[in-house]
Amino acid sequence: MPTTSRRDFLKLTAAAAAGGGLMLALNLRASVFTSDDLASGATFAPNAFLRVDRTGNVTFIVPYVEMGQGTYTSIPMLIAEELEVDVDRVVIEHAPPNEKLYINPLFGLQATGGSTAIRASWEPMRQAGATARTMLVAAAAKEWMVASDTCHAENGSVVHIASGRRLGYGALADAAATLPVPTKVALKAPDDFKLIGTPHKRLDTPGKLDGSTKFGIDARLPGMKYAVVAISPTFGGRLVSVDEAQVKAVSGVTQVIRMEDAVAVIGIHTFAAKQGLAASNPVWAAGPNRHLSTADIAAQLAAAASQPGVVVRHDGDAAATIAKAASTFEAVYEQPFLAHAAMEPMNCTVHVTKTGCDVWVGTQVAARAQDIVAKVTGLAPAQVRVHNQLLGGGFGRRLEVDGIERAARIATQVDGPVSVLWTREEDIQHDMYRPYYYDRLNAGLDARGKPTGWVHRFAGSSVLARFAPVAVQNGVDPDAIEGVAPPPYELDDIHVEWLAHEPPGIPTAFWRGVGSTRGTFVVESFIDELAQRAKQDPLAFRLDLLPKNSRAAAVLQLAADRSGWERALPAGRGRGIALCTGFGSFIAQVVEVTVTEGEVKVTRVVCATDCGMIVNPDTVRAQMEGGIVFGLSAALFGEITLKDGRVEQSNFHDYRVLRINESPAIEVHLVRSSEAPGGIGEPGCSCVMPALTNAVFAATGKRVRKLPVANQLASA
């Protein structure tokens, strides 16, 4: 085994694959969020595998999951580009759980999230493809006894140019496996790309049109039983009693399982289990949070935001600049708890036997799933087989393993496989929520209204401190401060301070757009307010604070141009603009709204996106469209509130999300770029929230500083 150089983020080794063919093992080196010891294993530990088999088919085993974001199409495109094969010949297999092997280089753990998949795989996957191609060409050259540079690869074959001889990859794979792995391979220049940057149909579409695609909820096993659960409606509550006789009287119920904080009913089908649960009449001890309300949490955060916290940015002397400024302005913004409400409710199917355990679930964190099930069952991790399924939406919810842990606890008491399903009500009332954030900003302004000093204090949960503590260094949570420390604007005197404050009772987690959705809302709202006070055009005001010719300035200008920014709108209509920089991408959006008697109708969203080099343009468009709809749902209606320690919302009637008749026309304009690829899953969502509220202001003169919009306009 060769040792790794810590500078290499990709190491390759070749071996004959089981069943013949060429196998390349890759090491996607950990980099950004990880500590050195995670990343610098002394021996070569591969964490992804590229196999070319004797039929010329290519299999790539990756640690990322498909949850709608198109990764299972983009990654084959990266490999196929360099390997010179048809994309359709590249089959993706999801990696089995192994935290050590399948580390996401941007996270330091096996996870899909944070818009990292393409950012983390861009270089290594192309290098893997190029390395395999180089070895296959060398194998052909050796066979023909010609120099390698007289041969080239095309469409799954190697061709000797002079003689026209040709051998398919399948015929060369065994021989290639015996050759040394080249230490350096040249990657194509962007101008030579044939696949990257060209729209490609998603490889996972066909099964999603006829019901044949299997999600976690679709696991069906011989003898399988069905479980539904009711968890204590009050956070931190305990189950006191349950009417077992009533439950067991329900036809089809096979078992009642009491848990400390929940009751589960098992039946021969979901209906029996649901009927049983409805008859269970659980009595709960409400526990320490029984008087907790959202207002209490908001008050705690408001208090926390005025306490000394961690200084996350300090340039110049903002306090002094504000003290001597021509004028000052202060604003407070509040953003509510949000549920994920993925269309596929939480579920997990588990079969525990004496010698092992099988788990069928769609998860963004397969290795954590394996670990928690091992812990619950007392088995060794290697005895737990996680069969990862396609995800019916992730949005951060499936980065958590609480549902898997609960399913495993239930399964240890059930004979045979059991599918544990959360009703929509459980899914919404026992989510792990996007945290409530409270932000106060102060600016000192010069005579023209331009900010000279900027002080931003805010408080909220540190999700990362719980989720991946290694990523929080010196008390600074890079997620919590995304987009605000510093904001994208040029500010010489800036002070940003945040206080991690965990709310009692309610669990918090990542949510699409992560920290950026909160930070972008605050900064882009505040900047818009400053522009208004300066009586300047919001676009011109922003451009004046951005470096000339910057990518940020360019997307703002592009979005404005395409939206017809200069054209006046009639009364009751308005246009708002916002900028989001993050995940290595630059997004600007212009939202148009019509407001009639407090009802906001979003009519149009124009989105300009510079996400660097684009792998699959249609996927970028889809992610922008999706992010915009997701963000609009949240900004317009989204709010989880607590009363008496319970979540008040329960289903789509009171946790409202956008419907097609409320969905705007969306135009996405992509910037051609040779910069490294940026993330696309989240920034579209982050950008649209302030663009919306800025548009509402333009239409009504009403500034929404506390989301969601619907509440603010209703109370206006």
Partner: protein, 151 residues
């Protein structure tokens, strides 16, 4: 025993008459293409056709389906409208996660069968009961119009 005609095949199931058709399809017949989303006819993920009409199977007692023709996502491609809708969905790469798409396609197929050239208002009316969290609405609208043009 209850006899159900699902996708032109008769199935005999022993279930209580009030059991929602959704669970009969998914848990008794093992036809998992029809999805559970909300249980209250709020999201449309469970949409099937009963004699060609779109209904939410999560609130439809199985007794109400007896003697009627049940069509699910697994067989919608055999109908002219369903086939066109699936083709348009593929051409525009509508699905993202795909979970809601069974219901979307069932609602859209019923719309197209009844209204071969639907207006935006027709699309809003027929499709506003089908939620999508991935935000595929712009493509759904475009795909329905494309399918109508193929007619």
């Amino acid at each position: 025993m209850t006899a159900l005609l699902v996708n032109d095949t008769t199935h005999r199931v022993e279930v209580s008459p009030e059991m929602p058709l959704l669970w009969v399809l998914r848990d008794v017949l093992g036809m998992t293409g029809t999805k559970f989303g909300c249980g209250m006819a709020l999201c449309g993920a469970c949409t099937i056709h009963l004699d060609g009409q779109p209904v939410r199977s999560c609130v439809m007692p199985v007794a109400a389906a007896v003697g009627k023709k049940i069509t699910t996502i697994e067989a919608i491609g055999a109908t002219p409208a369903g086939r066109k809708i699936q083709q348009a969905w593929a051409a525009l790469d509508v699905p993202q996660c795909g979970y809601c798409q069974s219901g979307q396609i069932m609602s859209a197929s019923a719309l197209l069968a009844a209204t071969p050239n639907p207006s935006d208002a027709d699309i809003d009316g027929a499709m506003s009961g089908n939620l999508c969290r991935c935000g595929t609405y712009p493509r759904i609208r475009a795909a329905i119009k494309r399918a109508a043009q193929e007619a």
